[in-house]
């Protein structure tokens, strides 16, 4: 579904040929500086390579209406942005940025559950821990029902048990709903456990 060929980003990162399949869970591993986060930004066309092509369904990503592309291919970036208000208000804020009507409480709760974040909707995000905020943010991203969900280090702030239950829940849901999941992690054992396909990025010498 995604294909990268001869992609060179600012001469800092040169990617090998990469193919990412539809409806699969793909994990991307590599040392820091190997261009994992940059790869996800290339896939949603929020940055462009200096050379080479990034194709989505055989069409260059930049030929799409890039805003619509990013709605179909959502990237939950590593920097979690939640404002100091309730979980419900944060959902509403993101929905208004997307120009969508506010979601029902039942919908919100469903996705919070899926992301192991079943906190009360009135809980202030300011009082949540880093890992809890990360899961609330994931729930917001997942609730947009993208065709492709890209996660940048989704378990970086989580303990092993929570990380496992989150990935189990997410991969199950994505398989069931035919959502393509692409996740970055530096934890190879987690990746091996949950990935259908694994991409190892080499570190540039």
């Amino acid at each position: 579904m995604f294909q990268l060929s001869n992609v060179n980003f600012k001469n800092i990162i040169k990617y090998p040929e990469i193919n990412i399949s539809e409806h699969k869970v793909t994990f991307i591993c590599g040392k820091s500086g190997s261009g994992k986060s940059t790869l996800l930004k290339l896939l949603n066309a929020s940055i462009s390579p200096d050379e080479g092509e990034v194709l989505y369904h055989s069409i260059p990503v930049t030929d799409y209406d890039t805003v619509l592309l990013r709605r179909e291919v959502i990237l939950a970036s590593q920097s979690v942005y939640l404002s100091d208000q309730s979980i419900r208000d944060n959902f509403m804020e993101y929905y208004s940025y997307r120009g969508l009507p506010a979601p029902d409480d039942t919908i919100i709760c469903k996705f919070l559950d899926l992301c192991i974040a079943n906190f009360p909707l009135t809980a202030n995000c300011h009082e949540l821990s880093g890992g809890e905020r990360q899961r609330v943010f994931l729930a917001i991203c997942l609730s947009f029902l993208p065709k492709v969900l890209m996660l940048d280090e989704p378990t970086s702030a989580l303990d092993e048990i929570t990380a496992n239950s989150l990935l189990k829940s997410l991969t199950d849901y994505c398989h069931k709903e035919h959502i393509t999941l692409i996740a970055i992690t530096h934890d190879l054992s987690l990746a091996k456990k949950y990935a259908d396909e694994l991409i190892l990025l080499p570190t540039e010498a």
């Binding site: 066309a45 929020s46 890039t66 990013r70 959502i74 970036s77 997307r98 947009f144």
Partner: protein
């Protein structure tokens, strides 16, 4: 009503004594800006003496070319000031800010001189001082508005990135910052309107009264100019930011911050 008392040089010199007080306090409080105080008061003196001489000459020898030259240099200085206070913005944004300042400034000046006062545009006695007030206030407003906008955007880069990545359009992301910065730029003008006549008698009105104009006439001018200032501030900041924010992303909806 009598005309104004002409200050003689000795009397005038006395006012500089007040600067010594400021200097004394600055020394005592270790405010390290004595150099700025000196330069600022010196520059003000020179610039105003120069303006006085030039205006006297222009009023005695009125010619359209003088009005145009004066307005052009006024606009040039205003643009220079706004841009030097906002060095971080990109080239296209700078062009938009400059164009907005000139076009909105000219529109309001023309409306005021021709429509409200009803004198010739090339009457230097009206056009030059009124343009000065209008352009000066537009400059302060645009400077504040663009600075607020630019600084907020810079401090919110990661939020903006996050929103881009979930498929929000750059327009939806940036417009709230445009609106907020416009509000910030407008507030000082709106607040000054509130106190007018009670807390402060504004400069133009004071000047007219001192030189013998009836206060009832002076207030009409003051009200008119305040409204013109509000309008020009609002228009200039709105155009600068509303057309300017589009320079922050490209046709692929990638942010250029």
């Amino acid at each position: 009503m009598n005309g104004i008392i002409v200050l003689n040089l000795w009397q005038f010199g006395a006012v500089y004594l007040l600067l010594l007080i400021v200097l004394g306090i600055m020394k005592k409080c270790h405010i390290d800006q004595t150099k700025l105080l000196m330069i600022a008061s010196l520059r003000m003196t020179l610039q105003l003496v120069l303006a006085g001489l030039i205006l006297t000459y222009i009023f005695k020898n009125p010619h359209p070319i003088f009005v145009i030259l004066y307005l052009t240099s006024m606009m040039g200085m205003a643009i220079h000031t706004v841009l030097s206070r906002n060095k971080g913005i990109n080239k296209r944004f700078k062009v938009i800010v400059s164009t907005s300042l000139v076009l909105t400034g000219l529109t309001i000046i023309l409306f005021f001189i021709l429509g409200v006062v009803g004198v010739s545009f090339f009457n230097p006695q009206y056009t030059i001082p009124i343009s000065g007030m209008i352009v000066g206030n537009a400059m302060t407003g645009v400077s504040l508005g663009v600075k607020t906008f630019h600084e907020t955007i810079q401090s919110q880069k990661s939020k903006i990135d996050t929103l881009i990545n979930i498929g929000a359009s750059p327009k939806n992301i940036l417009i709230p910052y445009v609106n907020k910065s416009l509000e910030t730029a407008l507030l000082p003008t709106l607040n000054s309107m509130l106190g007018m006549g009670i807390i402060s008698l504004p400069g133009m009105m004071t000047g007219q009264i001192l030189s013998g104009t009836l206060p009832t006439t002076a207030i009409l001018y003051q009200i008119a100019i305040m409204i013109a200032i509000t309008a020009v501030t609002c228009l200039a900041v709105f155009c600068s930011l509303y057309f300017g924010y589009r320079t922050l992303y490209n046709s692929k909806n990638q942010m250029l911050l």
